[in-house]
Symmetry: C2
Subunit: 160 residues, 2 copies
């Protein structure tokens, strides 16, 4: 069992209004406060909720350009050393290794298109990176979201 209906409502509520707090949640959900606390604790313990960190918008920090960069890695070296180096670049927001022999995909941001060139150069300079190919994100019609998934996770698979 992953999560049940109550969990979904709880997460949705917190996602919509993160400031409300446990007590308010219990009131709206018509359950005891201890129940809400226990649910949250359990979800944190199980890794469903990984944190409540503040969400930062890179755009508001002046990083208005986002791009996805695909890296071709020299086969011999392996991924880790490259990933470690990439992690040192602040503009690299995430790195994934992907299917297709020695490739990686990373999301980067930059202050401008010109600045993007600088960031890409930083990446190219990483030892083991053979070639890069980048696409710029022009618009984001669907920003990152998980709520629909949370709801779906419950709808389908849950047996309680």
């Amino acid at each position: 069992m992953t999560i049940d209906q109550l969990d979904v409502r709880l997460i949705s509520m917190l996602a919509a209004e993160p400031r409300i707090g446990v007590l308010e949640c219990s009131r709206r959900l018509n359950v005891a406060r201890g129940t809400v606390q226990a649910r949250l604790d359990r979800m944190v313990a199980r890794g469903v909720i990984t944190g409540y960190g503040p969400d930062i918008d890179p755009t508001a920090l002046g990083y208005g350009v986002m791009a996805f960069v695909t890296l071709q890695i020299r086969q011999v070296s392996g991924h880790s050393p490259v990933a470690d180096r990439l992690a040192l670049v602040p503009e690299v927001l995430e790195v994934h290794t992907i299917t297709g022999g020695g490739d990686m995909l990373c999301r980067v941001v930059a202050r401008s298109n010109a600045d993007l060139q600088r960031v890409i150069d930083l990446i190219v300079d990483v030892d083991g990176v053979v070639r890069t190919s980048s696409v710029i994100a022009l618009d984001t019609p669907v920003p990152y979201r998980v709520l629909p998934l949370v709801a779906a996770a419950n709808r389908g698979e849950n047996r309680n």
Copy 2:
């Protein structure tokens, strides 16, 4: 001016321990509580902090497979209708329009490789989608993070 040193320390602190609260922050930063509250309010108002929502891990929900799908869109239709349809699929976590004539990039998750096929089929079925090409993320050496960027945003550009 975007953010200053105090903002960076504040964000970093909250990111590390989201539960500490305004008062505790003010103590650790050696500033008045009102200052911390004002800083946070300002950053929220400016859009730097977009929220404090709980961070959900799709893996813990049973969605262990992640992939990036590049869509080729029929030129005539435009992006919005396609994006709207994609938004209806819970497994689609985000959608970007990217450079290169009528293309979109989206991140999707699925319960398994077989399930990924189902999700991709859903995407292909969207009217206006001509072709898709997907890469599976095997590993994520650098998970999404913004803190280094926050620190960098301050280091370089700040004038206060």
